[in-house]
Symmetry: D2
Subunit: 365 residues, 4 copies
């Protein structure tokens, strides 16, 4: 199929929330995807989108994007999520809380591929978690899912935003050297907590909150699943013990992670850098619309990566890595710092790249 | 010697800088120590202290304490560090940059005990790094130091501020279970970088700086030294591989650390908590003027410790620990989060507690 | 009545919220007031207070004080606000949202004085807004209020937290020189927005929000009322045009205000300072338990007042003023910067001082 | 002269500092200006630019731009400011501290137009301060300046960054209604203080600094000069009393100002908005390369403008205004809030727009 002719009607569900808005921002001017429908909860249903993201009483905007809401979308009628029409839709992107996702995603999946930022189905055996360039083979699960659940489409959630940078940087090491163990501490941005209720300014100013409920378990589980391989119609998780310490810091966007890795065999720092440098070649060559020029950018500046300076590299789709050093605690240990944009590669725009990737691979099409 | 009769004349060198000011704040109303002399660089020498900490041109204060500068100290004449008179001084506290410390601390040590926040002599073989309640036996080095250097007094620097909380929490585990390995990520406060030049607001706002030059090496080295034992007139460092990732976050005071520890033998979480609960008994019983009621406070609130809420526990002298969990990467692994006040227990007030402790132990007096 | 014998049973309503917690913190160890009862919404009713301020599921604390919750209060039974027993109560302090206050404060006022941080009754003609040392004569309204409403007690709300510092600094100028006009811009702390929903970290980080709904009108109205005088059983508002610009900045506590004032007659800067210096003499002489040594502290440091450094002066009860200069726009103009602690003098502790003051004046007793 | 043929060689002096870097960033890909030479202090002289903005010892970048330094500039040889060759240069942009500017700008002005961000010559009688679209007539001063100083070129500094938004929003009101008085409080970003020494993180975190030395006087003076008219070879300052309160808040970029204005005659809010809406027509029509589509953008969202959300409007060249209300203190008073990007329109990029504007007007050419 020639790229030129690629054209898909898409819907965004949970479109008025912050993650949904990021879908809209990322879909503006997209060469393949045309935003045809938006859906949200009953409270917004029936309003034009532009009204649904404005507070009628005060006139205050509830659109949180860096740029103004794309003008084309202001007049889209907001449908109620449960009743979204999908006959003319090719892909549904969902940006819902987990409970709502659990309920409505299967409705859409009866007909369509559903690519989600919610965790609702992430740990189900027949549900793949795709990361572009890492695990296209997991598409084999889709047949199982369809059989199990009576879908014509399928559901695939993206990983937790903190898993994204970790899995992207581990995958090339895993392939080249093996990975035996991982200890990771995250310094996560407040946008990751969303707005409902989100993190209060008075709680995070001059402070760190050293606990994010359920986050560590998610990352520990997802990493093995994403790096796993399909065997017998199932994903055999990679057996890598991962130990996480997740903290929240007063940063708007961009999750920083310190990563200590025990490799399967000894590797010099130069060898590690070389592996990263040539990673994701196929993906980069494919020049998908949302794919960055570099999936991993290694910086030799010892003071980098920094959230404010590096989060927007590759328009938020590149993982920036620095400070690669030997680690003398883990066997064949190395350690590094990574920075990944939690609301771009880690959420909506990452889901859109996944859709592009699955199209490229013929999984959607 | 009865506590009632304890009375020592002390001097503070580097008194106009921020660490020096913290010494003055901590000495106000001290029951044993009388601040007799203050010294600083040539620029301030000859001025009354109150003038030296005010900008003459603008009238702006250069006193950075939470409370006003103790009135008694405003008229102390600032002497030049190189020419400080020490005939009537029993203990010298120094708060200098490393280069200046290297030069002047030996001058004072000819006569006096010198307790320092500088790293200048920290890694010398004949120099102990005391932490109250942990390594009084290291006092055996003092004789060696005197012989080597022709001192009547001695020099003892405190640990790096980031080592303090780590060593305090590891020591009870080390004694009870053994410690085989440590991986630590620190989220350090900006006050730790001081004011010269310190961390710029525009560099740390909405940001993390994932590198603090020389910090990781210091902690990795000091931990083994502090937990080491004296044998043959030397400190035999504890052979614990420690791997650190030191970052700077936008917090005023209070270093937070995520710590993954491999113990020498399996221990339940309750056993670990019990060990901490009964640790530092002798020190706590001694009721030294600057010692907190608890050296370690364990909190069951999963969202704690937090810098803003926990740094002032025990007037900044208590290390707050929380989130104790099993770690499945390190052998017999546990992990926890700690919070230690970097400019109180981690600097001046910690040095004053060390002085009290060495008096209690008969090393000074 | 001799101060020694003063003893009042008090209740705090809205006790589990952040303002209510501040009442509890300020009442700990109070020499006159004994906290006998606490009340809150139905959700907390029936629980011991300590349980009501902890999240049962996660174990997380919902107590937001700098210091731990006073141990004595942990076991107080939380009553439902509508059904609070007040037979044994002498004063009720309320810390409710305006709607709830409107409903329950009259219930209490049937029997008791009610001192409130809510704005519900603030603009009623028969309701005085007291500021200690400023307008004791407004007590004359209480009889009117009792007649109008059939109360044995009465309701008196404190001013908006941003009015407090403004009125305190204007009153001495008003008495000495007259005040013709006021233009004020506030830079308000996020704690002023409370927690429900409060200001999100992602909205205020690296930002200013230049609008606080209804705030400007409140201050403009209250200032004239507080400085007004009673005539014919009513408060004749002082006719001072006040123009406010209220903004929210990323500061935890402490409202800073730039104030341009047109005086009734020309006054030198020294005369203004002299007036402030001798202001509130009677109040200061009365040595009420919550009154600071200085109601107004003038600083000559041109870089002060600053929220972080000055908010806790006088345990948060002193208004710090600086940068007094001539203003060439307003007639007889002067301008200055003030800093007032919004959750101490500006809220609960200010209300407690008001209670003490009304007792001193014989209005409560 | 046809725009197509416009081509000027330019030099940037003070190129390694933060303001100089902003010139380089703004010159990248500029259709008229070719960066031919860069100059800095002796410390950087002789190095390629790329080396001059990197710390050799640590490898740390000293380039502070949002985007990477334009690759073309990395190899430019840094000349020493005093010895900059200007034979092949048409315009010199300087971004120096005031003292250095005082010394070297006259050297360049002997031959070239010098457009500066320094205040060195800003208050000289024969030196115009241009703001595009406001005061092209001030070019009449240039002849006087040339005579007075023996220049073939001339010196023109831009206004203080805080004056920029104020003058831009006042000018249309001044022309339409007259302006009788202005009271302004600024909430200024920390980038305005630069890096030398700049504002320390520990001084601004959880804080406001209510004083910026010399700032208020500058704005009060410059506003009248910019709005003044040329008569008898001099600028007759507009006689507008302006009273400023300048504060520093913890915002990276973007100065917010609350402005109370007394107009020359009564105007409704709609009339004021209409005046702003049609302002700067000629400038906007000229479509200069650095001119924004809107010089003034009025927002009806009551919570805007906000620094983080509005500073980059028009790539940092648009002044965003909101919250227009009546003011009842000043005669014919209105009040509003404005937001102006201090390091774009308020500094380097504003200077570049000024150069374009002076070319358009035939002053440079």
């Amino acid at each position: 199929m020639a790229a030129k002719n690629r054209s898909f009607n898409v819907a965004v569900v949970g479109a008025t929330g912050i993650a949904g808005q990021q879908f809209l921002a990322a879909l503006e001017g997209h060469p393949w995807f045309k935003l045809k429908r938006v859906a949200a909860s009953q409270r917004s249903a029936g309003k034009p989108y532009g009204e649904a993201v404005r507070d009628a009483a005060s006139g205050a905007s509830r659109w949180y994007g860096e740029k103004a809401c794309p003008a084309d979308y202001l007049n889209l009628n907001v449908e109620q999520a449960e009743h979204l029409k999908i006959d003319d839709i090719d892909i549904v992107f969902t940006a819902l809380e987990s409970d709502a996702a659990k309920e409505v995603e299967p409705l859409y999946a009866k007909k369509c591929p559903v690519i989600s930022t919610a965790s609702a189905f992430r740990y189900e055996e027949d549900v793949p978690i795709f990361l572009p360039g890492i695990n296209p083979g997991h598409a084999a699960l889709i047949e199982t899912q369809r059989k199990n659940r009576g879908f014509k489409g399928f559901i695939t959630p993206g990983p937790n935003c903190t898993t994204v940078g970790l899995a992207i940087t581990l995958k090339p090491l895993f392939d080249a050297f093996g990975v035996q163990s991982v200890i990771m501490t995250s310094l996560q941005a407040i946008s990751g907590a969303g707005r409902n209720p989100g993190v209060l300014g008075m709680d995070i100013l001059d402070n760190v909150i050293p606990y994010i409920p359920k986050e560590e378990e998610k990352i520990e589980k997802e990493t093995g699943k994403i790096l796993g391989k399909v065997a017998g119609g199932k994903i055999e998780h990679a057996k890598i013990p991962v130990s996480c310490n997740c903290t929240r810091v007063n940063v708007h966007d961009g999750h920083l992670e310190t990563v200590n890795v025990g490799l399967g065999k000894k590797a010099s720092l130069d060898e590690v850098k070389a592996v990263w440098a040539k990673s994701y070649e196929e993906l980069r060559a494919s020049k998908l619309p949302s794919a960055p020029a570099e999936m991993i950018h290694y910086t030799e500046d010892p003071f980098r990566p920094q959230p404010r300076l590096d989060r927007d590299r590759g328009d938020g789709m590149t993982t920036t890595v620095g400070r690669l050093r030997q680690d003398h605690v883990l066997p064949n240990g190395v350690k590094y710092v990574l920075l990944s944009h939690n609301t771009k590669m880690g959420a909506a725009k990452g889901a859109i790249l996944t859709a592009e990737y699955l199209i490229e691979k013929g999984v959607i099409g």
